[in-house]
C-alpha cells in the first residue's frame, strides 16, 4: 500500500492581511503548512502504523508543489513520520487549479499509489476542489470531507464517514481512491486500520515531530520533478482581477441589560 499525501505551504493565517495596490502582499508573511494538510498526513500515519508493534502497513509519501529550495514544510512532515517526499519544483502561486490537479494526478500514476489523502481545502484560497479533480482525472472513487475512516485491508476498501450538510454519510470506496479530510479526522479514534487496537485513543490533532524524527528527516529521500517532466503546462485559466477588504459592518452598540437588548431587538432591529 502506498499513500500519497498532498501538502501545501500557505501564508500564516494568523498574521494580518496586507492590501496593496489592488492585491494582497504576502511577501513578509511566514509560510506555514496548511492545517488540513497536517490532518491529512496524520491520517496517513495512523493508517500506516501499528501502535504497539513494529509493522508498517503502508508507505507514506508527501507531495508538495513549491520551489525546491523552499521545502521546509516537506522536511517538517518527514520529521512527523512520513517515509519520503516528492517536490514538484514550481512557484505554486503561478499555477492554476487545473495544472495543480494534473501534476498531482501525474505523480499518483508515476508512483502507482493506492490512495491519495488531501486536506479538504487550503486556508488561504479555500478552493476545495483539488482532491475531487484529481479523482476525476484518475477515474477513481472519491470520499470528500472525511470525518472518520476505516481501512479494510482484505477487501482493499475504505469506509469513510463524510461530513455532509445534513449529517454524516457513510461511503464505502474500493482502492485506488482519493480522500479529502475534514477537521474531525484527527479525533482520538477517527482512523481505524484494522491492526492498531480499535480502543487505542490517539492524542487529538496532528502529532508533533519527535527529536528522532527530526534527525531522521534529513536522511529521508526527496525526489524533485519539474512540471515538464510530468507533462503538465502551468495553465492560465485563473486570473485575480482585484482584491479588496470586505465592507466593514456598521459600528454596533453596547447594551446594559437583557431588558434593553430585547427592547432594541423588538423596536429598533425588529427581528423578533
Amino acid at each position: 500500500m502506498k499513500i500519497l499525501v498532498t501538502v501545501k505551504r500557505i501564508p500564516d493565517p494568523d498574521e494580518g492581511l496586507k492590501f496593496t495596490g489592488g492585491g494582497l502582499d504576502y511577501s513578509s508573511h511566514k509560510r506555514v503548512p496548511n492545517a488540513f494538510d497536517e490532518y491529512a498526513v496524520e491520517t496517513a500515519l495512523r493508517l500506516a502504523e501499528v501502535v504497539g508493534g513494529k509493522d508498517r502497513l503502508a508507505e507514506v509519501v508527501v507531495l508538495s508543489i513549491c520551489p525546491q529550495g523552499q521545502r521546509q514544510h516537506v522536511t517538517q512532515f518527514l520529521a512527523m513520520g512520513a517515509d519520503r517526499g516528492i517536490v514538484v519544483d514550481a512557484e505554486e502561486d503561478s499555477l492554476d487549479t487545473i495544472a495543480v490537479s494534473k501534476a498531482i494526478a501525474a505523480v499518483f500514476k508515476k508512483e502507482g499509489a493506492d490512495l491519495l489523502i488531501a486536506g479538504k481545502l487550503s486556508q488561504d484560497l479555500e478552493g476545495n476542489q483539488v482532491a475531487q479533480r484529481v479523482a476525476g482525472l484518475l477515474g477513481v472513487p472519491q470520499a470528500c470531507f472525511a470525518a472518520n475512516l476505516a481501512w479494510d485491508r482484505a477487501g482493499k476498501s475504505l469506509t469513510v464517514g463524510r461530513e455532509v450538510d445534513d449529517g454524516v454519510e457513510v461511503k464505502k470506496i474500493p482502492l485506488p481512491a482519493v480522500v479529502s479530510v475534514d477537521l474531525r479526522i484527527v479525533l482520538p479514534k477517527s482512523v481505524q486500520n484494522g491492526a492498531t487496537s480499535p480502543d487505542h485513543a490517539y492524542n487529538e490533532g496532528p502529532r508533533l515531530a519527535s527529536l528522532r524524527g527530526i534527525t531522521m528527516a534529513k536522511r529521508k529521500k526527496v525526489d524533485v520533478f519539474t512540471l515538464a517532466a510530468l507533462g503538465v503546462a502551468s495553465g492560465g485559466s485563473e486570473q485575480d482581477v482585484a482584491v479588496a477588504a470586505p465592507p466593514a459592518r456598521k459600528a454596533g452598540q453596547m447594551v446594559g441589560s437583557v431588558e434593553e437588548l430585547v427592547e432594541k431587538l423588538t423596536k429598533e432591529a425588529k427581528v423578533i
Partner: protein, 323 residues
C-alpha cells in the same frame, strides 16, 4: 449565445430549498451574458420535482430531467458523469449550482473531466467570467476571472436571494448516459434529527461557545432557541470539546450561515467562526469578557455571563412572542 446550466437537488417532489440560490446566481450570469438559463434535475425518479421546478419557471428556457437509479443516493462519481453528459449535450457555457456539500463534491470532479475551470463559493457575479469570492476566512474578497469552456461555478447559498418564480418552463427529458459509480456504495446517511429548522435555512440562530462550560448547559440555549423558533449552532471550540454534535459547528470549516438574527453566547469570536456568520443581518453578542473580538462585529453587545442573562432573555422573548 451563452447557456447557463444550473444543477438542482431534489427533496421528495420538489427542489431542495438550498438549491434555490444557485438558480439566482445562474440567472445573473445569464443576464450578464445575454444568454439562456437551463435547469437540470437529477435523480432516480425526478419527474415530479422537475414538474414543480418547471411550474415555477424561474426564467429558465427549459428544465432538463435525467432519471437513473444510479443517481440516488447521491454519489459524486455518478453525478459528475451525468453533469458532464448534460453539459456536452446542451453545449453549456456555464455549469454550476449552490455550494452544498453534494455539489462541492461533484462539480469539481465534473470540471476536471471537461478540463474546465471552476470558481468556488461565488458571492457576486461581476460578468460572465468574473466572480467575487471570499478568501482567507472571509478577510478578503477576490474578483476571480476564469477562462475556459464551460465555466463552472458554485454559489454561496447565503449570498444570493431565492429566485422569483416566473412563467412556466417546458420540461425536457434527457436520456441518462451509462453511469459507472466505480464500485462505491453509500451505506447510510446519519441525518441529524431535529424538530428545529436547518442551520443553513433558519431565520434565527443561537450559538454557544466554549464558555458554555458543558454540553448540559446548552439546554439553556435550546430553550432560548425554541422560544425564538430558531436553530442551535456552536463554535468549533464547543464542538471540539464534545459539548454538542460536530454538525452544529458554524465557521470557515463548518456551516456558513446568514440568518436575520444571530445570537452568539459565550463565543469569543475567532476569525474562523466569524467567517461563518458575518453575513448575518443582526448580530448579538453576549460574553462576560468585554475584550472578546466578537464585540467588534456585533450590532448589539452585552457584557455579561450567560448564566445571568439567558434565562431572563428566554423569558422576555417568550412573553414578547406570545403577546
Amino acid at each position: 449565445m451563452s447557456k447557463v446550466l444550473v444543477v438542482l437537488e431534489t427533496a421528495g417532489n420538489g427542489v431542495r430549498s438550498t438549491s434555490l440560490p444557485g438558480i439566482t446566481c445562474g440567472q445573473q450570469i445569464a443576464k450578464a451574458t445575454g444568454g439562456e438559463l437551463h435547469l437540470l434535475v437529477l435523480g432516480a425518479d425526478p419527474a415530479g420535482a422537475a414538474q414543480a421546478v418547471a411550474a415555477a419557471g424561474y426564467g429558465a428556457k427549459a428544465v432538463h430531467v435525467m432519471a437513473s437509479p444510479a443517481l440516488e443516493p447521491f454519489t459524486a462519481e455518478a453525478w459528475a458523469d451525468a453533469i458532464v453528459h448534460a453539459a456536452r449535450t446542451l453545449g453549456a457555457t456555464h455549469v454550476g449550482g449552490t455550494a452544498t456539500s453534494s455539489l462541492r463534491d461533484a462539480l469539481p470532479r465534473a470540471a476536471a473531466l471537461l478540463d474546465a475551470p471552476l470558481c468556488p463559493e461565488a458571492v457576486a457575479v461581476k460578468s460572465g467570467d468574473t466572480f467575487t469570492r471570499p478568501v482567507s476566512a472571509g478577510r478578503a474578497l477576490l474578483d476571480l476571472k476564469v477562462k475556459g469552456t464551460p465555466i463552472f461555478f458554485t454559489a454561496r447559498g447565503t449570498e444570493f436571494e431565492a429566485p422569483a418564480a416566473g412563467a412556466a418552463a417546458p420540461v425536457a427529458a434527457m436520456a441518462a448516459p451509462a453511469l459507472n459509480n466505480l464500485g462505491v456504495q453509500v451505506l447510510s446517511i446519519q441525518k441529524t434529527e431535529s424538530a428545529r429548522p436547518a442551520l443553513t435555512e433558519a431565520r434565527v440562530i443561537v450559538s454557544g461557545g466554549r464558555g458554555m462550560g458543558s454540553g448540559a448547559n446548552f439546554a439553556h440555549l435550546e430553550k432560548l432557541t425554541d422560544a425564538l423558533g430558531g436553530a442551535l449552532g456552536a463554535s468549533r471550540a464547543a464542538t471540539d470539546a464534545g459539548m454538542v454534535p460536530a454538525d452544529l459547528q458554524v465557521g470557515q470549516t463548518g456551516k456558513i450561515v446568514a440568518p436575520e438574527l444571530y445570537i452568539a453566547v459565550a463565543i469569543s469570536g475567532a476569525i474562523q467562526h466569524l467567517a461563518g456568520m458575518k453575513g448575518s443581518k443582526v448580530i448579538v453578542a453576549i460574553n462576560k469578557d468585554a475584550e472578546a473580538p466578537i464585540f467588534q462585529l456585533a450590532d448589539y453587545g452585552l457584557v455579561a455571563k450567560w448564566e445571568d442573562t439567558i434565562p431572563r432573555l428566554t423569558q422576555l422573548v417568550s412573553a414578547h412572542r406570545s403577546a
